[in-house]
């Protein structure tokens, strides 16, 4: 049981990291959304597995939220926005894919170096989880830094947050995971609504953040 549980969890967590890399690589808008859906599915699988391993039924709820909200609702919403803004065919230029990838790999290495010794006390399962979670978080942040487009920034943020959920579920018997995931869903919902609400298109004619920069810092 132990090794199997470990291997499967390893598989899912590693898969999540892998998908993060793909996200980092992907430059087509629609493709981005699809891969994010995949990201969410992998996450929910790993969460479900954790629920099964830890015999923590409430984690199934988290998994359900993940699959429902992140794999269905959000992608649909984003698609609609993109169609609305007529950017679903856009291809965002990702500056220096190679460099980004390289940086991403360094980040994974860093997170391993930081986490594994730090969690020496914890169970190997948790250690793996945490290390991969950190790398997913860092990759998500890297994606936010490298993308100029509001939607891909949101996607980056959500992948980051997937990493957090991974970590939370990985932490054995951590309470409030459900609440936290709910809170996060709300947050993301706000972001997505925010894009609607701010009607970036009407105001700025594009979702390109650079347009927002026109008025940044109160510069008239």
């Amino acid at each position: 049981m132990g090794t199997l549980a470990f291997d499967v969890a390893h598989l899912f967590a590693g898969g999540l990291v892998l998908v993060s890399f793909v996200l980092l690589y992907q430059d087509r808008m629609t493709g981005l959304i699809n891969i994010f859906t995949l990201h969410a599915i992998v996450l929910s699988l790993s969460v479900a597995w954790q629920a099964y391993v830890q015999h923590a039924p409430h984690l199934y709820l988290t998994a359900a939220i993940a699959i429902l909200f992140k794999a269905v609702v959000i992608p649909l919403g984003l698609r609609r926005i993109m169609v609305r803004l007529r950017i679903h065919r856009d291809i965002e230029v990702v500056g220096g894919v190679g460099a980004t990838m390289l940086l991403g790999i360094c980040l994974v290495a860093l997170s391993l170096v930081v986490m594994l010794p730090a969690t020496a006390a914890a169970a190997p399962l948790a250690r793996e989880d945490l290390a991969f979670a950190l790398s997913v978080v860092l990759l998500g942040l890297l994606m936010m830094v490298t993308r100029r487009n509001a939607i891909s920034q949101v996607v980056g943020f959500m992948s980051l947050e997937n990493g957090l959920i991974l970590a939370a579920t990985g932490a054995k018997g951590m309470p409030l995971v459900v609440e936290i995931s709910v809170a996060f869903s709300v947050l993301i919902a706000f972001i997505v609504i925010g894009i609607f609400l701010f009607r970036i298109r009407e105001r700025f004619d594009t979702v390109d953040i650079q347009e927002l920069d026109r008025v940044r810092g109160g510069r008239r």
Partner: protein, 482 residues
């Protein structure tokens, strides 16, 4: 279990929550403003009720010397600000900057923000605290964007993104803390409860705590507005309604700082973990000096004082980083004084902007000539925030600088230089704002200067005579912080 006190703890959450609900549907701005004031006043009274006797810590909420300081302070500022916002919002409506729907939304959000902050301060559970801080972020974001101007939206968006990232980092740190506690305290919520965490901190895995603190420092530090995570702060202050600027500077930053302090205590209690001091000192000094230089190029009066908030948060963080009874006392005092003074300044600034019809520093001149009451109040406020006697900030800066110089001269010198640089900028702007030939005014406003003068009076009093009980109370909190 002390019944009335517990009630007051719950009341601190229930009152704003209910008020928020009511206000969401209450038409008519005067009534709403009244309810807002009353609710905030009630919250303040409940907070004061905590002073005499503390309830035993519960599973989710608890009260100790440390967070009482914050609760009382934030409810008080929340109260005065609500009083101020009554007249301010009135003028905004009169000039058509806000419509009634917005105002309803505004009041509802105001109360829910108070709710979130109280929850964050009273939470006995690191997860709950995190949720509360996140909620507070959301509400403030919505209020920053309330004007719907491109600048406002941009500010809100920036605040939103940066704030969310900060929150995310903080969550990761929280998870790590749980991880480090879980082997000792076993699975379940026990490993997330402050009181038990503090008791067994010594046994936690130090390396995990170190990593956790990095994430927490950056995460909550974003909300404190420490450089280089400060970017959201100036725009949020400048574009939101002025009462919100006052609340942001006066409360929100403190709440985030409170979180950092808690975790600092946790690390301090663990001998093997790295001392959290150096990191806080570094970030504090960076913020102080950075903000000091940023003050020079500001052309927008609210951004100016927003940067000065960054500067002072830097000082406070520095002081707590130094640690020791003197520095901690100074830090607490400085934080309190800063909340009072800075919100007072924003009260003044709000009216100034209304009477002059602009936020451009260059277009505001000779206030002491044209509006003596406001002008001199602004002068007094800036003098106070710049740490000149007889105001209270001087006492804290005196303690910080002198004690630091006695212990770490090399740290005190950049500190002093940063203070001097910042003072130079503030004074330069102040001379331009308050003196010289007055610029033309947009029109009169019925400004309620009472909250403004109350704050200044308190700061003045604290500078001359710190009430012995308050002093004793602060001192044992300082001892608590170690």
């Amino acid at each position: 279990m002390n019944v009335p006190a517990l009630d007051s703890v719950d009341a601190l959450l229930i009152v704003p929550a209910l008020a928020g609900l009511v206000l969401a549907f209450l038409p008519g701005y005067r009534l709403a403003a009244g309810v807002n004031c009353v609710a905030s006043g009630l919250a303040f009274l409940c907070a004061c009720a905590l002073l005499p006797h503390r309830p035993a810590p519960g599973a989710y909420l608890f009260v100790d010397d440390l967070n009482v300081v914050f609760v009382v302070l934030s409810t008080f500022v929340g109260f005065t600000t609500s009083a101020y916002s009554a007249s301010y919002i009135g003028h905004e409506i009169a000039t058509g900057k806000l419509n009634p729907a917005h105002v309803r939304f505004y009041h509802a959000m105001y109360q829910s923000m108070m709710f979130a902050m109280n929850l964050a301060l009273l939470a006995n559970n690191i997860g709950l605290m995190w949720v509360a801080v996140e909620f507070a972020t959301l509400t403030t974001v919505l209020m920053v964007g309330i004007h719907r101007t491109p600048e406002a939206l941009e500010a809100a968006w920036k605040y939103f993104i940066l704030g969310s990232v900060g929150i995310a980092l903080a969550l990761f740190g929280t998870i790590l803390v749980y991880m480090s506690a879980e082997p000792v305290l076993g699975e379940g919520s026990d490993a997330m409860v402050w009181t038990s965490l503090m008791q067994h901190a010594a046994a936690f895995s130090p390396r995990l705590l170190n990593v956790a603190f990095v994430f927490l420092m950056l995460g909550y530090g974003t909300k404190v507005g420490l450089a280089p995570m400060h970017a959201w702060l100036p725009d949020a202050h400048a574009e939101g309604p002025t009462p919100i600027s006052a609340v942001l500077s006066g409360l929100l930053l403190n709440v985030a700082l409170y979180a950092i302090l808690r975790f600092k205590m946790l690390l301090a209690a663990n001998a093997a973990a790295i001392a959290p001091g150096p990191l806080m000192i570094a970030l504090g000094l960076a913020s102080l000096i950075f903000a000091g230089f940023m003050l020079y190029r500001r052309d927008d009066i609210k951004r100016l004082f927003a940067y000065s908030s960054i500067e002072h948060m830097g000082i406070v963080t520095f002081a707590f980083g130094m640690g020791g009874p003197l520095a901690n006392f100074a830090g607490l005092l400085h934080m309190t004084m800063h909340s009072l003074t800075k919100s007072a300044i924003f009260f003044a600034v709000g009216h100034v902007v209304q009477v002059k019809g602009t936020q451009k520093i260059a277009d505001i001149r000779g206030l002491t000539e044209s509006h003596p009451a406001l002008g001199w109040a602004l002068v007094a406020g800036v003098m106070a925030i710049a740490g000149l006697p007889p105001f209270g900030v001087f006492m804290s800066e005196f303690l910080v600088v002198s004690s630091t110089f006695a212990r770490q001269p090399l740290l005190a010198i950049p500190l002093a230089l940063g203070l001097l640089v910042a003072f130079g900028a503030l004074l330069l702007r102040l001379v331009g704002l308050a003196f010289g030939e007055p610029s033309e005014s947009a029109g009169e406003v019925e400004a309620s200067v009472v909250p403004l003068y109350v704050h200044l009076a308190l700061v003045l009093l604290a500078g001359l005579w710190l009430e012995p009980h308050v002093a004793a109370w602060f001192r044992n909190v300082a001892a608590l912080l170690g």
